[in-house]
């Protein structure tokens, strides 16, 4: 019970700190909206043609959501770790009953809330701007949650490796950009070289994209992808909790 209370205390603080950083709030929600505006409205899809956006709008819904579930946790958790290190907060925390896993759970919880909210906003804006009617499956929620947990864990690892907030941003971009374009999000598998296609399965984001596409576009179950994603989330969360530093 006390563990739950500690997670709650940490999560309330993280949520409050987030809301009071106005630029962080603006860009957390603004960045995916800019992408929707660019690709959904300016570039537009071309279902009868070929090329990068040769599928209907619904095909790219996993891509828009992938941007949020990937970039936001990586940069936010990584930056938080860098800030905590710079302020010697982990050194302080390590002498309290709070554990690294509780800290990560609290910050993951906050990210889940932020990203579920941002995902809802993106889907609403997408429907409003493109007229595409998004299929809302209840499975969307666990897909987003597991993906956020997974990338929060990865963000913690990056935060441990990088020695500053600048370093975290650079490392996050270096990891996230290849994943975004090579995980069946915006680039369909048939556009990739045949020899490369098996490598797509190595990206954890692929299982999110495939699963979300199944439940929102293909109207299939997506449970196998959800299972893989849950396993990956557990593994990455464990790695992330282990990576959280004990001192400055």
């Amino acid at each position: 019970m006390s563990s739950v209370l500690r997670v709650g205390s940490e999560a309330r603080t993280a949520w409050c700190s987030f809301l009071r950083r106005r630029t962080a709030v603006f860009f957390t929600f603004g960045f995916p909206l800019i992408l929707v505006a660019i690709f959904g409205v300016v570039v537009q899809t071309n279902p009868t043609g070929s090329g990068l956006f040769g599928h209907p709008t619904g095909y790219y819904v996993p891509g828009y959501l992938a941007i949020i579930v990937l970039f936001t946790p990586l940069t936010r958790i990584g930056s938080s770790i860098a800030r905590y290190r710079e302020g010697n907060r982990f050194e302080k925390l390590s002498t309290t009953p709070a554990t690294p896993a509780e800290w990560l759970a609290a910050h993951t919880l906050v990210n889940v809330g932020i990203i579920l909210l941002a995902s809802a906003v993106v889907l609403g804006v997408l429907e409003f701007l493109t007229g595409w009617s998004v299929v809302l499956s209840p499975l969307l929620v666990p897909f987003v949650v597991f993906a956020v947990v997974m990338f929060c864990g990865l963000g913690a690892v990056l935060g441990r490796v990088a020695d500053s907030q600048d370093g975290v941003v650079a490392a996050s971009n270096a990891v996230a950009l290849p994943l975004v374009f090579l995980s069946e999000t915006f680039v369909a598998p048939e556009m990739l070289p045949a020899w490369f296609r098996p490598a797509v399965g190595l990206s954890p984001l692929t299982y999110f994209a495939r699963g979300v596409r199944k439940v929102t576009y293909l109207q299939e179950s997506g449970l196998s992808e959800l299972f893989v994603l849950a396993l990956l989330a557990a593994v990455f969360f464990g790695l992330g909790a282990y990576a959280i530093p004990q001192s400055g």
């Binding site: 006390s2 209370l5 205390s9 940490e10 001192s247």
Partner: protein, 315 residues
């Protein structure tokens, strides 16, 4: 009296740098123990060794009867060096947050009152003065009412009034039975607050004991500092036990009653002086003597007349 902290032969290296070199010490329950040393002496590494936030190369530590990694988090408090909590929270929110990490915590209003921040409780941390910020940080270490408190340079960077306020707080904590392990590079702070002091230099404890005992044993006598404006020749004729300094003379073992005699000697020899400062030996004198840093004070060991006569005085 039972030991709250026992450290035995602690050693720690960072690459080629020796941070701790066989440090041993004991902190008794209920006492204020100050670890004194300049920046880079190894103070923070020692605190981290005792709190289990760094691993030692060798040696053993017992904190409240267990190894640091197994210490009951409810029973200790730590203010790390250069600690900065989340900045966009108020003092009240910060104390509530850290209090929420413990099974039992003190009422926030009580802690705010202890650190004198009742009136600024709803101000964001980032908008508080440096002294107020430091008091919030100390308050954060008190939310769980710890039995053992580690304060790593708690007064660095704050104004004299803020420092006095924290000294008062530490004294109150000590009076209420809290064991305090304090690091500082302010000798006056250690001398004022500590029951016992350990002097750390290059990762080694060079001496430890009650401040008064250390001063009595190693501090030397009283001395009178004479700031002169004349040339070296004036000093050559003086017949007193004095050493030359960069700005004048230091006359040793002068009681307050003897000051008039020294002034008379200076006047008789026509030595022009700008000020006289009489001081008792302090912990700083002890530290400088034991670490061999006395020469940094601009003094020589030779008597003034001899020093001037041989042309080696530092004037």
């Amino acid at each position: 009296m039972a030991a709250a902290v026992t450290a035995d032969s602690l050693s720690k290296r960072y690459g080629d740098t020796v941070a701790l070199d066989g440090v041993s010490l004991t902190v008794d329950t209920g006492e204020v123990f100050a670890l004194v040393g300049p920046n880079g002496a190894g103070k923070t590494t020692l605190v981290r060794s005792l709190t289990g936030t760094t691993t030692l190369d060798s040696g053993s530590v017992s904190v409240l009867g267990t190894s640091p990694g197994d210490t009951d988090g409810e029973a200790i408090g730590l203010l790390p060096q250069s600690f900065r909590p989340p900045e966009r929270l108020t003092a009240r929110e910060l104390l509530t947050y850290y209090g929420g990490l413990y099974d039992e915590s003190r009422p926030v209003d009580d802690v705010l009152a202890d650190v004198g921040l009742d009136a600024a409780d709803d101000t964001w941390y980032t908008n508080l003065s440096g002294g107020q910020q430091r008091r919030v940080c100390v308050g954060i270490t008190l939310v769980n009412d710890p039995d053992l408190l580690f304060l790593d340079e708690p007064t660095t960077g704050i104004d004299p009034a803020g420092r006095q306020s924290l000294w008062s707080l530490v004294s109150d904590l000590s009076a209420s039975g809290t064991t305090v392990f304090l690091t500082t590079h302010y000798m006056e702070e250690a001398e004022t607050l500590a029951d016992r002091v350990a002097l750390l230099d290059d990762g080694s404890v060079v001496e430890s004991g009650p401040p008064a005992t250390l001063v009595e044993t190693y501090g030397g006598g009283t001395h009178l500092r004479v700031e002169t404006s004349g040339g070296d020749g004036q000093l050559a004729t003086l017949d007193i036990d004095a050493t030359a300094t960069e700005d004048g003379l230091r006359v040793s073992n002068v009681s307050p009653e003897d000051i008039g005699d020294v002034v008379g000697i200076l006047d008789r020899h026509g030595v022009e002086y700008e000020s006289l400062t009489w001081t008792e030996p302090s912990l700083e004198d002890v530290y400088l003597r034991l670490t061999g840093d006395e020469a940094d004070d601009g003094e020589t060991d030779a008597p003034a007349a001899d020093a001037v006569a041989s042309g080696s005085g530092q004037r």
